[in-house]
Every structure is written in structure tokens, then in C-alpha cells.
Subunit: 427 residues, 2 copies
């Protein structure tokens, strides 16, 4: 934590240092003060929506001129209505329970010392994300609610929008009596600014990359700042020998096709050999009707031929691919343990589901999985902070340390031991 | 987690891969099976103490021939009594509560889905440590108790001892029906084996370096495997204006001199200017009597001159040094906030103490610290898993993610969400 300010500080490091100062000022503030700042943010977003929308229009025009796809442009675009919705989301964050100050455990030791493990803010949270400007406000709001300073590094494609939004946020935060540097946009649009952020160990307490697999891989392998890995989801649905087959078809289609572009969508279905003859034709019909292309092993290809449905031959590439599209890999396995072995070999550790009426099979499957979430007779799509009832989500962690699965406000904190005595010494 | 076995696996990676297989086998085992293996280890250590002591004698002879200091040789040495004590420690671990399977939180969602967050083992835990062979058994026992496979990389100076100990452990584990590869010594005595371990991302779930600051710095900056940083303790004692000065002297001497070579010993004392005139002579007398050399600012030097005690002039090097010896840095500060600023600037984030009778000062000090533990009127030396009542300790984390402060068995686990429904789909 030794952090003297060298004269050679780059703009990114200087911003990180200011964030660290702001975090020190935020840490002791009670909830009411932080909530007041969040409400000021919501009000300011509504009052200054016009300037945000105008700045955004410049980003959108640039993106359009560069031939960006309409899907991406839609994610980038802010309207007055969308800004109002973002402000409303901030008000929802205000209403969430305060994670800071929670006593996680506590006891009075035999010698009379009072021991408390208390939740405290992490400090400076760096977030690296792609071209959705709403994330700028969501992430800042969750950081402030949990007492952290936010260092935001959005996509350069949304730089004008993010500058306008962060300007509004900083004014509101300062107006509420908090340091404006509690919310900062990482200066610069170049890749180099991301690299500097990754090397700001001792100034930035954690980096959360949100976005594509290659961004996340880069941050995880190159950062000296601790990282929370998010997002990649090569999720599996296993249909057991004792599955209710109608339920299995419904869960499979929902897991794959309800919204295929998200990390909790299913990418592979595995079917117990004992029900393959009955299940594969049902599944092929339903998946085809939902517009899904199946990439299957020999059993699925044969079933496809029987049903008059084209099944693409699957290779190892299919087992490891997160399609994020109307595609699914499919195999028949001899038994539950073979399904487990397949999943452990290929999963990204996000979410796996079993469909079964057999309590022993469900129990065994759950105990052998090494993933953040395991569904028993439920869609993989449920792995989500909002659906879990957390009220907010900063991302879905696929790592094991610190946070695993959907991350709410408590995952943006650490703890501190506070020990109170009256002159206690050790012997 | 994609981990096919390339033909080119080095011995270290091959060991990591076997550990991963063993971890998969360990994960679903209930407590009784794991406890049985631990009891078998304790019995085997006693039964085979002679061969352990013999192997250790070779290490000790080598160390002595190399001119190793007697302190280090003492840490390295195993006797029959010491092996019996290690076996007894293993039996203590058996008696600890099982962290695996604990439901951390749970609820029934509005749609009827049952949500449970359950503690599960991390998987493969790598531990890098120095020349104390008892750590080999302690670490293996804590890993097994928490359902993890242990990859142990001790000092090359204890290689023969560790090989003998791990041989005993593996036989006992296998005899109890668990995979022997749940406990492995990392093959090879070279530095390269540490580097390979640090690059085994996807096979090793966490690395815990225990030892000197330079080892820990290397692992933290070079490892692609997630690391839990342990140990460095530049701990502070702040004597407030409203301190009970007799209590302050006693706490200061206990914090510094009760055992100066450990991470929770105090390294700097800061004194409020309002009590400096009265406190410094008392402290100098007591510290001198305890054999402690003071490295002080001008006020301390002046007080030293008045008391006839030599006070070395302190520089920035003293503020940042973890002496681990009978030395302490000392300064007078104008007020509590100046003490806070000094500590935040120089601390390693381990433990800080305030001595005060003023509730407001205690509250402000606690809220402004950014360290793993804060003591109010208690010795810094209390930051310790055993003293906290955790029953066992794998290390003391000075980082914020995952674990902070003394790490017991729960810190060797992660969690998994288990969601149970009856065909639930998202809309």
C-alpha cells in the first residue's frame, strides 16, 4: 500500500491515485450519505438527459459511419426514455440493503476480547467493459452503494457518452458532499490505458472485466491487480435416464433459445443412452421449431436422419465453444458419470443443469459438478443476480476465489477484523 | 477448465493433473471419510516416526555442513517428540467443524425455485513454504479436512524430510480409501518447479505462498494461478491523547517484544503530541528494558537524550521496514488523523492498534484503517487463527479478495449455488 506519488505518474495512474484518496474518504461514511449521493445521481440524470443524449448521438454517428452492426448500435444508443430507465435503476440500488458494516461473524474470546469480522468496502474498483453506456451508471451506482470508488474504463466507441454520463455523476456526487473522484472515467481511449490500469497494483483493489472472452483472458493473464473473472458460459443440460422427457424438452429449449446471446444460455445437451431413442426425436423437433441448429455426435446425426432434420457433425471444437447463437452441441452418453466427465472436461464453470426425477442422480450430479451454479430441473437461464433476488449484479463470476456466480453488493466488499479489549496482551 | 493431458507434461504439471483428479474424487466424500483419513495420518506419523526422523537427520546434516544458523536448523529439526506433537495437531484438526456443505445463504424464490449457496472445496491448493517440515503435515491436514487436494512445495533444504513425511501421509490416505494423490510433494528441488506451479492455471485453483517477503512478491506478480497473499506485517501501535499510559506501555512492549520475529509483531509506534512528554520516557525505559532499539524522529531522539537512551535517527526506510527483530520505528504525530495518514501510507495492511479511552477516537481510528485487523486496547500479537478461536490457520492474508486476516478452514473453500425446481423456465 506504499503509494507515494511519483512525478512521472501517467494520467491513468494519477486517476487511480485520486480514486484511492476518494475511497479513503468514502469508507467511513454512513449509508444515508451514500444513498443521498445516489439519489442526486438519479435526479441529475433526468435533469441533464438532453446533454447525455446529444453526446451519445456523436458516438452513434461515428459507429454508424464505421459500419457497425445495428445490434451493437442499439446497445450503444441512449434516448431520453433509456436515460430515465437508468435513473430509475439507480433509485432501485438505493433501496437495497447496505452491505457495509454487516457483522459477518463475531464472538467473545475466552480472555474477554471481543472479536468482530465486519464488512468494509474493497476500496478502488476498476471495471473494464464494452460499448453499453448504461453499464457506466450501473457500475458506478453499485460501487458507491458499497462504499467503493469506481474507475470506469468503457469502450472507446462510447467515449463521448461515457464522458457526458460521468460528468453528470461527478457533479451530483460532489453536490451531495462526496469527493467527485469517487467516480472517474479512465482517461484515454487507447489500449494502453487498459494496460496501465492492470498494472496499478496497490492503487486499484480489484479489476472486473466484463465483455468478450478475449478481453477477459487478457486481463486475467496480464493483470497484477487482483481480477474477478466474469462471464464466459459454456453451459450444459444433462437429460438423465429418469427425466420427465416433456419437462426436459421444455427446459432444453428455454435454456438454449429463450435468449441465446447471453452467458447463461445452454451450449451443449447430453442425453443418457437409456432415453435417447425417445428423447432425441422430441428434442430435434422442438429445437428445430425454435430455430436452433444441432451439432451432434453420431447418435444425434442418426436421429436427425430419421426425423428429416440436418444435424451437423460435432467435433471437439463444438464441445468447447460458447456459441452465443442458435446453435447447440449434442451428444448421447452411456450414463450420468460419463456426462459428468464430459462436463468437467469442457465446461467454463458457469452453470450446468440436470433434468431427472431420480433423487440419487440429482444428488450425485450436484456433488460432482465444479461450476458456479447447478440447476436441478430448472433452466440454466436462472443464473442471474436479479433472478436470484440480489437486486443488482455487477457480473457473474466463473472463478472460485472471493466471488462465484452472480455478484451482488456483498461481493463488492471485503472484511476487517475489529478486536476490542482493555489492555489485553498475549502470553 | 479444459485440461486435456499433453504428452509434453512436465513432472510438476503431471502432478498437478493427478491432484486435479484426486480433488474430483475428494469433493463428494462426506466428513466421516475425510476424518478417517486424518486419523490414519496421525496414527501413521506416530508408527513411522523413526523413518521421518532419520530422513530429517540427513537434511539437518546438510544444513549444518552449509553453515546454516542454529535458529533455522532448529526450525528444520524433527525429533520423535516433535513428530508426536505434529500427529496430535492432526487429531485437533479432525475435531474442527466441517466447512464443506455449510449452507451460506438460501431462500425460496417467488417462483418457488429453491436457492442454496453451499460451501464446497476449492479443489487443488498449492502451498509454497520454507524450511519447516511441520508445515507439510499441517497444510496437508487442513486441505484434506476441507476436501482439497494438496500440492506441497517446501524448501529444498527440507526435501528429504518432506519426502519422508509425504510418503507416510500418502500411504495413510490410500489406506483409508482416498486417492494417494490427494497429497503430493511437488517434484524437484529447483526454482523452476515453483515457476511451473505458478503457471498451472486451470489445474491449480489457488496458490498460498508462506514465507519471506521476496518469495511472496514473486508469486504475487508472476503467478497466473490465483494467489492468496500472506504474511508481511508492518504493524503499528498508535498511542492516543486519551490513552491510559501504563496500558499503552504494556501493549507496546507486548506487541513489539513478546516475539519479534513474527508477522503480527509491531514495527512502528506513533504517539499523539499531547501525551508525548509523559509517554516517551516511560516507553523508552520499558522498550530498553526489553532489549528493543528505537529508531525515532526528532521528538524521540530528544526524549532519548533526556533519558540517557540512544535513539537511532529514523528515515523513510524505517517507516516501511518489517524489522522482525528487537527494533522499532517511532514518531510523534500532531493528532489521530496524522497517525491514520502515516499508517495508510506505510502499512502492509496486516494489523494496527490504537490505545485510547476515548470512544470517538477508537471509532474513528477503526473506520479509517485499511488493514486486515484493527485492535482497540489490545496487542497486535492477537492476530492469529488459534487466538481468534479458529482452531487452525493456513496463513494470514493481507489481501482483500477472498480471505483477509487469519485463514481457517472456511477460507479453504469456495461456494456453489444449487437451484432446485420442477421444470422452471424463464420468461
Amino acid at each position: 500500500m506504499t503509494s507515494s506519488a511519483p512525478a512521472s505518474d501517467s494520467p491513468v495512474l494519477a486517476a487511480a491515485r485520486r480514486a484511492r484518496e476518494a475511497a479513503a474518504a468514502l469508507a467511513p461514511l454512513p449509508r444515508t450519505v451514500r444513498d443521498r449521493a445516489l439519489l442526486a445521481i438519479a435526479d441529475a440524470l433526468e435533469a441533464r438527459a438532453a446533454e447525455v443524449v446529444e453526446a451519445n448521438a456523436a458516438d452513434v454517428a461515428r459507429a454508424r459511419a464505421a459500419g457497425t452492426s445495428e445490434t451493437v448500435i442499439d446497445r450503444l444508443t441512449l434516448t431520453r426514455e433509456r436515460v430515465a430507465a437508468i435513473a430509475s435503476d439507480v433509485r432501485d440500488v438505493v433501496a437495497l440493503p447496505d452491505p457495509v458494516g454487516e457483522v459477518v461473524r463475531g464472538s467473545t474470546l475466552p480472555n474477554g476480547l471481543e472479536l468482530r469480522q465486519v464488512r468494509v468496502p474493497l476500496g478502488v474498483v476498476g471495471i473494464i467493459y464494452e460499448g453499453r453506456p448504461n453499464v457506466t451508471v450501473d457500475a458506478a451506482a453499485l460501487c458507491l452503494k458499497s462504499g467503493n470508488a469506481a474507475l470506469l474504463r468503457g469502450s472507446s466507441s462510447a467515449y463521448a457518452s461515457n464522458e457526458a454520463l460521468v460528468g453528470v455523476l461527478r457533479d451530483a456526487v460532489a453536490g451531495a458532499g462526496l469527493p467527485a473522484d469517487a467516480v472517474q472515467l479512465v482517461p484515454g481511449e487507447s489500449r494502453e490505458s487498459v494496460h496501465e490500469l492492470m498494472r496499478a497494483r496497490g492503487l486499484v483493489d480489484v479489476l472486473i472485466p466484463r465483455g468478450g472472452a478475449s478481453l477477459i483472458r487478457t486481463v486475467v493473464t496480464e493483470s497484477t491487480v487482483p481480477v474477478i473473472e466474469t462471464g464466459t458460459g459454456n453451459c450444459h443440460v444433462y437429460v438423465d435416464e429418469l427425466a420427465d422427457l416433456d419437462m426436459a424438452v421444455e427446459l432444453l429449449v428455454n435454456s438454449k433459445a429463450q435468449r441465446p446471446g447471453v452467458c447463461n444460455a445452454a451450449e451443449t445437451v447430453l442425453v443418457h443412452a437409456g432415453v435417447a431413442d425417445r428423447f432425441l426425436p422430441l428434442a430435434l423437433a422442438a429445437l428445430t421449431a425454435a430455430g436452433v441448429t444441432v451439432h451432434g455426435d453420431e447418435a444425434w446425426q442418426k436421429a436427425g436422419a430419421g426425423a428429416g432434420v440436418r444435424v451437423e457433425p460435432a467435433t471437439d471444437v463444438d464441445w468447447e465453444t460458447e456459441y452465443l447463437s442458435y446453435d447447440i452441441a449434442a451428444a448421447v452418453v452411456p450414463d450420468l458419470d460419463a456426462a459428468v466427465a464430459h462436463i468437467r472436461r469442457w465446461t467454463s464453470g458457469h452453470t450446468e443443469a440436470i433434468v431427472t426425477r431420480d433423487t440419487a442422480a440429482a444428488r450425485r450430479f450436484v456433488s460432482l459438478m465444479d461450476s458456479a451454479a447447478v440447476m436441478v430441473n430448472a433452466s440454466t437461464r436462472f443464473t442471474d443476480g436479479a433472478r436470484f433476488g440480489f437486486g443488482a449484479e455487477i457480473g457473474i463470476s466463473t472463478q472460485k476465489l472471493h466471488a462465484r456466480g452472480p455478484m451482488g453488493l456483498p461481493e463488492l466488499t471485503t472484511t476487517r477484523y475489529v478486536i476490542t479489549g482493555e489492555g489485553h496482551t498475549v502470553e
